[in-house]
Every structure is written in structure tokens, then in C-alpha cells.
Amino acid sequence: MSRRQALTRYIGSRLVLAPVMLWLIATLVFLLLRVAPGDPVDALLGNRASALAREQLRAQLGLDQPLLAQYGQFLADLLQGDLGSSLRNSQSVREIVGAALPASVELGVTALLIALVLGLAVGFSGVARPEGRLDLTGRLYGIGTYALPVFWAAMVMQLVFAVGLGWFPVGGRYPPTLVPPQGSGFYLLDGLLAGDWAVIQATLQHLALPALTLGLLLSGIFERALRLNLRRALRSDYVEAARSRGISETRVVLRHALPNALLPVLTIAGITVASLIGGALLIELIFSWPGIAYRLQEAIGQRDYPLVQGIVVVIAALVVLVNLVVDVVVALLDPRLKF
């Protein structure tokens, strides 16, 4: 079987497995939500209302149906691409996710870019003199940013740069006194497409601090990955061979060692997208960023079953998709990989 055929078969098998994985995740979330004590009525009415009023509301929300019937309905809707409606405000989950997802993607992509630039720059900076001062500083930076608790770092950034210095807004995605741009939901993109500097400025102003914080915290992973892989590559036979042919050190590093060291970084970037969801939750919460992780946290607190299920399914689908794309790209770039 040729490599191309093997790759096609591999992608096919991943695509076939993806719905099974999504079904398993959806079922698990469905069951876990029902097992957790307290339901949407308890979250909605708190410690008020009689048992009768609670039962009436439970029936109104369809929570009095047998569990199996609820599950069957959930799966039937899911197969048709219907994620249901929020129990809190009856709005379609698809609409809610559609409104919140661009905010998260905008933050996530910006943070990832910052993380890549910072991480790779710091990771690369120690190459010239291994164990030198710059290399040690880079290692400390990598360990430090990797080990920092997200909530603590985010709060410190907020206190210093927003409250103390007043350089950035404390939270939110857009100035409250202005009407947000109505377009794709990606404010930066909307501003750029419209050439509206005011929108770009307002968006950047709000995006900067959460994206910098998240990017800074993620950059340590890339720094460590690049540094270790680059060092390993620089000690490999093909690099020695290149040196012995009299190729300059700069060329050896940039043309021979770096491309090989970057391949694992690409895989890590794919995995980081999944971990972004967790990291972004705390960032979105602390900076009141109206993204999908923030909505998920609210929905869990309110026991909004359809919304939690919908968001988790969408996130799972995104993670599966991103990992698949990364796997394919790595496979295309690295001829050594076998399937």
C-alpha cells in the first residue's frame, strides 16, 4: 500500500471514529448532568416556591419525562443537528453557541499566536550558547509560565494593568457605551474588513490583556518543546554531517535543525487547542469575556442541560477536528511517519 493510500485510510478511519467519540461524549455528559444533584428548577427557583410549583415548572421544562425518553429525544435532535433550546431563556442552543464561539475563537487564536511568537522566540534564543545565561533565563521562563496558576496570573495581570495602571479595561469584549459591530461575530475581523479603525482599536483594547495573559501562560509549553527538540536535533547525525560539510552554523540551525524541531511543536499546538478550552475558562471568567467557556460555566451552575450538552458536543467536535487537521498536516510534512 502506498503512503498516500495509507494516509487516506488513516483519515477515513479517524472520520468514522469521530461520530462514535462524539456520541460517547454526548452520552456521558447527558448522564453526568442527570446524576448531579439539583436540576434546573432548583437552580431557577432556589429555596423558594412550594413543591407543587416546582413540579409544575419541572413539567413545563419537560424534566418530568422518563430519563430514557429524554435521552432518546436528545439523540434524535442531535442527529438532525438540533442542539435543543436553553431551559433558562428558551433560546436555541445553536444561536447561543453561534454568538459565543467567535469570542472564544478570537481570544484563543490571538493567544495562540502570542504564545507561539513568545515561546518560539524565547526557546530559540538560547540556541547560540547552550547553558549560557540566555538559555538559563529561557528555561526559567518556560518553567515559570508553565507552572503559574491561570487564575492567579490573570488576576495579577488584571490588578496591575487594568486596575492599577489603567492601561486596559478590566473586562468585557467591547466598550459598553458603544454598540458592538454586527457581522461575523469576530469583531477584529469585522473591523478590518470594514476598515473601521474605531472598531479595531476598541476590540484590541479589550482583547489585549486576556490574550496576552493566556498567550504568556501557554508560551512556556512551546518554549520547552522547541528548546528540547532543537537541542536534540543539533546533536543528531545529519546536523553533524552538515557541519562537517562546512555549512555555516546559522544555516545548519535554520535549514537543517529547526524544521525538524518544529514538527513536534505543531503537534503540541494541536493539543494546546484542547487545553485552551480549560485555560480559557478561567481567563474568560476573570476578564468577563463573553465566550463559550464562560457560557458553559454559567450553564453548569444553572443546570441548563441542553446548553451544557450542546456546548460540550461543539467543543468536542472542534477538538476532534483540530487534532485531525494537525495529524494530517504533520503526516504531510514528515515523510518518516508511518500509518
Binding site: 432548583d42 429555596n47 436553553s86 487594568a162 457605551t177 468577563s288
Partner: protein, 531 residues
Amino acid sequence: MQGSSRWQRRWLAPGLLLVALVLLAGCRASRRPLDGPLVVAAYGSIQTVDPAQATTVIALQLLSALGDPLYAIAADGQIEPRLASGPPQLSADGLRAVIPLRRGVRFHDGTPFDAEAMAFSLRRFLAIGKLSYVVGNRIKAVRVLDSHRLELQLRQPFSPLEALLSFASLTPVSPTAYRQHAKGFRPAGFVGTGPYRLSFHSPQLQRLEPFPDYWGQAPRNSGIALVGMSTSTSLYGAIRGGSVDVLLSTSLEPEQQSALHRRANAGKLREGAGPALEIGYLTLLSDRPPLDRLALRRALAYSLDRERLTQRVSDGLRPPLRGLVPPGIPGALAAWPKADLQRSRQLLSAEGYCNGSVLELQLTYRSNVPTDRLLALSWQELLRSRLGDCLRLELQGMESTTAYRQLGDGAFQLILLDWMGDYPDADNYLTPLLECRRGEGNRCSEGDSVASGSFWTAPGLQQTLLQSNAVSGAQRLDLLDAVQRQAANGTPYLPLWLVRPRAWALNSITAPEFDGSGRLIFGALQRREQP
């Protein structure tokens, strides 16, 4: 030269980072225009603005600015007609109330407000309202008498009808705008009669613009931007950094409330406080050992040093409370005893404790409510130091939704809760805690007393409670008095403290004002003349 070059390399990266930060900071929007909307911040998001669907404090706060109730409670506690033009006229049997309506009122969509519109809104709320039980237990049917007179048919005579009709969820909506939503919800838009109309809505941001055809006093500002934030620290930081004009206290951490209070006292902020309508209390499981023994419940009542606890937990911002009804509401009575540790010890000794035997009780608190956790820890420590040989508290934190689920199952010996009436009347504090439709002796088996986790009642209590709603004036106050004394003697609950809604404004804004229902009056906020 070489040293200089190394120095340059060393500082290049941090320098570039700093420059980038400064450049980004340079992107800061210019200062908010002085004629722009005022920014009011509060905790949480508003996912629906449909009065039939909204249940959160902040959503009801928003509705009170977008709509008008039939009656409103003024800051001095007096009931005043708003969309009603006078008090309800009750039939002789007290089962029918005719409400005259104000003329010349228009909805935000330009359609007129009349009896049909009010009836539409009330019927819609009764049919689909998430909080319809608040009204549905009282109002049986709604009938239009003529264009500006409405008749309410009541299930039983109910004297605090005007207070009930001040409930923010009963604000009328335009039948034209809500025709498609008579049996469903309209979460993202609101068309009412209030001083503001909603011009933009997202869960985290609501933009309110003054309604030019408003029948009453026009707002003193050019609009409001209501911003929801997700953490107490963000809210605190926002007012400290001056990025919001006004901050509401709901869900703000106690330490941060105290800090803002101190800043206001120092003249750095302007503070406003509303009537104390929220109570904090402890529920005692009275139908199971050991708290089925009245003496032990009374011993607990005497052991509760409210003054010290509230000072420690809230820095004095939450006044101690010795009744189930907030003192500002007619009929309130401080019937519970003051702390008396000696008396508490005597009662515990008489019950066989203190002489080598310690009464151990489990106190459950809501782990997601910071003040509850602080209170539980403080009370545990206070008892350990003063009555450690007699009484010991074991603490258990539990997420609120999980706790609410188990209240009616009798799962908690002692649990710390709070309550804010949907409308400011004694009935709305006593009935949800004491109502008992079926009971024997001091044990209630069906009713709100079960749902609230105390399972307590007393012979004749339910009858007195019902009678208190059928009469008014001094007669009603006497009956409410009797109910509260009975409850204090039985000690199924321990009132703890009062919570006043607060708001802080920058010095460039007028001091925040609240109405008698505890809502911030958005229309009264105004930028002050700068010297």
C-alpha cells in the same frame, strides 16, 4: 563597546515587550463622552428580559427600569399607584378587586396602554411565568371591565394586594409586540411602558435609552449601559479604576463591599443603600433528633451572638436581625431572643449536655456564597471558645443548587440560607417559611414549611396566617404579631442578619437612590456639575 552591545541584547526583549504593551495601551479608547450613557455594572449576565421568564435579581432590576408596575413602593415604604390611577376597590367579600388604570400611557412601540393590555400581560404571566406561583396562588382570574378598569378575582381575600402588584415581573408588555409570544417567551427584547426602552441586549450588556413619550418623570441621564461582569474582583476593579460609573452590590464579596464602604466614607465614592429586604437565617430540622427537642433549639437561639458575628463577617454592613420580617416592613417584630450564653448553657445542661457530653450539630452552608462560609466558620469558632464543652458545630459546605434540592427531604440539621421577598410585605416572608397545609402537633407534613426544611408548625398557626391576609390595619398587625411570637417560641428558624442593597458611584455622579422594592433608580442617576 562589547559591554554596551551585551547590555543592549539583554534589554532588547523586555524593552520590546514594554513598547508593545505601551503601544497596545495607546489603543485605549478616548475617555467616555460626558453626554454619553452612564455605565452601571453588576454581577452576572441577563439571559432573558421577558418578565415571564426573568428570575434573577439583576434581571428584575433591569425590568424595573424598562417597565412600570401597577403599584410601586416608594423609598419611604409608602405604596403609590403607578400604572394604576388609584387604590384597588375591594368587593364586600374581598374576593374581587377593581383597579382603575392610568390614561395617556404608551408602550415603547407607540401603542396605548389600557385594560386589555394589562389583562393580556397578567394572563400571560399566570399561564407561562416562571414565578407565576407568586401570583397564581392569589389571583384566580382577570377580567376587563372597560378600557381603563380591570377586575381581579382572588382565590382568598388578600389585603396586601397592592404590594403583590408591585412585583417587577407583573410589568405590562405590549400585546402588539408580544402577540406571537402569548404562549412563549421573548428573551431578547422588551416592549413595556417604563422610563427607558431597550436599544441593545446581549447577556453581558444592555443599553437603555430614555423613552421620549414616557408618561412620568423623564430620566435625568442620556441613557444607561448595564454591564454584567463575572467576578467580584472585576467589579471592584472596575469601580476602583473608574471604568464604570456605578456599581451594584449584588454578589460582591463582603471584604470588597467593606472596602468600598470605607472609600465612600472617605469621600472617594458616593454610596447609596436601599431598604433591607433580604434576610439571612438558619433553618433547624425540627422533626428529627436532636433538634426535635425545643430546649435544644432554644439553646441554639441563645448561643447566636448576631452582633459579633455580623461585625466579623460583614464589617457591620449587615445589621443583626431578630425577626423573620425585615424591620422596615409593617408587621415586623423582633421576637427572637438576644444572645445569652449563660442561658444557652443552662438549657444544654438541663438536656444532659455540658457535663462531659457535647452536642454535635452539622451546620451546612452554601459553599458558593462567601458570606455563608465566613459566618459558618466564625460561629463555629465562637462556640468553640465560649461553649466548647457543650456544643460543637461540624461544618459542611455544599453548592447551593445541590442544597436546595435536598431541603424538602430533611437532609440538613442546620442550614444557612437567605430569602428576599418578591414583594415587600410580611406575608411574603412568613408564608414561604411557615405555611403548613397538613400537620400534626408541631410537625408539618405538607406545605412550604416542609419545602424550606424545618418541618415545623404549631396548632392554629396556619389559621392565623391565613386570617392575617384577610384583614388589614391594626387587626392584621396583631395577627402577624401572634404568628411571629409563635414562630419565635417554636424556634424552627434563627433570623440572623439583614442585607441592604448598596450601590457605589464615582464622585462625578449623583449618589445612587433606591426605591422601596430595593431597586436602584436608574433615572435618578446624573452626572454632577464639575467645579
